[in-house]
Amino acid sequence: MARGEVGKVGVAIDTLGDMEALFDGIPLDKVSTSMTINAPAAILLAMYVQTADKQGVGCKKLKGTIQNDILKEYAARGTYIFPPAPSMRLITDIFAFCSQYIPSWNTISISGYHIREAGSTAVQELAFTLANGIAYVEAALQAGLKVDDFAPRLSFFFNAHLDFFEEIAKFRAARRLWAKIMKERFGAKSPKSLMLRFHTQTAGCTLTAQQPQNNVIRVTLQALSAVLGGTQSLHTNSMDEAFSLPSEDAVQIAVRTQQVIAYESGVANTADPLGGSFYVEHLTSEIEERAQTYIDQIDEMGGAAAAIEQGYVQKEIQESAYAYQKAVEAGEQILVGLNKFQDEEVPPRNLLRVDTAVMESQVAGLKQLKAKRDNVAVATAIKKLKKSARGNDNLMPPFMEAVKCYATLGEICDTLRDVFGEYTAVSTV
């Protein structure tokens, strides 16, 4: 099924061998690593820990993030494997394991980004993300964890879209809402549990294939809104991403955009510089209120997982996406170069191409590895994992054991598929 995609959607990590090669020469006690991984997040984290172990780096020194946000996969992004209940168990297993052994790890990045990219409004992005956050906290509490033990490691991930002030207000409303939820709903005591720390990526869906150089300006404005909104980290998209994976030159401009904002503009020198602005405060309150209405409604439906299983969240997002498309086609939402101020288009040059040899060498390497690893050890580890999956044990230790003897991600996921089954999406179209 992955044919044609290997090496195009990120680096291929099939086994611990790939992870070791990826971090060869990179000391894992000196860097922070973010992995955009969800359904198999626990397994990738296990590989990372084992790679560090081989470098002689202990768990306590590891810093980084796994996205690990399965609810938004069902709702918006599509890379789920297992049904919600066992998926939530994998997530709480990670919370429990990390709070004990990898205290500096961000165990989840609760993501509105993909919800927005799938077409939601700003208010929906915020509401659905926080509703998912509530579901994770509830699952962790049900698994017996204490709120102040895991809540400080929760992190968030938002989108920076076109409407400059609306986005700033959205980030501010997110902090207000989350602090209130943690304090009032979950009785968190630690101030760190109340903090909503977030990463931002500029909105990929707003990049146009028409007059692609305009994307540099769009990205700049979006990045600025994220900084003024108080983001902890930032990803700026490259101008040519409406065509393909970005070229080296385009990526460099995207990085320089951040550097200009960070080092030249001075906008990062003050926390919440727009606090007190009548308009921004008004917008913040309005977004907070409207998001709260959604959260209340999702609560009434039985929480985020139930709302997703009923297809409610997906339908809401879809309807917004279609409304946005109609607004663009009617010229109500202006996109410069696309539906206004159009010009003759020149096809872009120097796009990045991923060689198909990448896939062939990956497949060959995997075959080789399977032939030379200790297959008896693999079979034993897989058997143990299956037993743990059927019971209630924390799955991180059996994952660790399986990846250590170079069981593949596919073998481990297939074992879990046998026990957990696979998720079938509800049809909402």
Binding site: V9, G78, T79, E117, A118, T208, A242, F243, S244, V354
Partner: protein
Amino acid sequence: MYLESILLCRRCKVPKKIRVLAAKPGLDGHDRGIKVICCALRDAGMEVIYTGLRQTPEQIVQAAIQEDVDVIGMSVLSGAHDYLFPRVMELLKGAGATDIIVIGGGIIPEEDIKSLRDVGIRAVFGPGTPTTDIVRFIKETVSR
């Protein structure tokens, strides 16, 4: 008598609704575009069957034949179009179903479009395409 035959002729000529299979081949989970297009085609009076995510080329061709569609519309944003689209065309040929019009869209560089058209993909719609263009293309091509 004369009047009746006209009515009959007209009745025969009432075009059946255009049937479209909207498909997501491969592992790519980006489905905003295809879902928006599903809505737009339905609003334009077509019958649309959406496959959902993670379909193999085999599943897509099988569904297209079973559902007796006039058009297959595939969306790929992962860069795998250069394998998946030709593979679907190959299977359609093998099944003798080359009368089905196949179109595609997604993140597809201009320079790839020629080779996709060479294997029989009738049109490739990139980012920014108004849905009305796709509706028009399907209506014109099917009625020909």
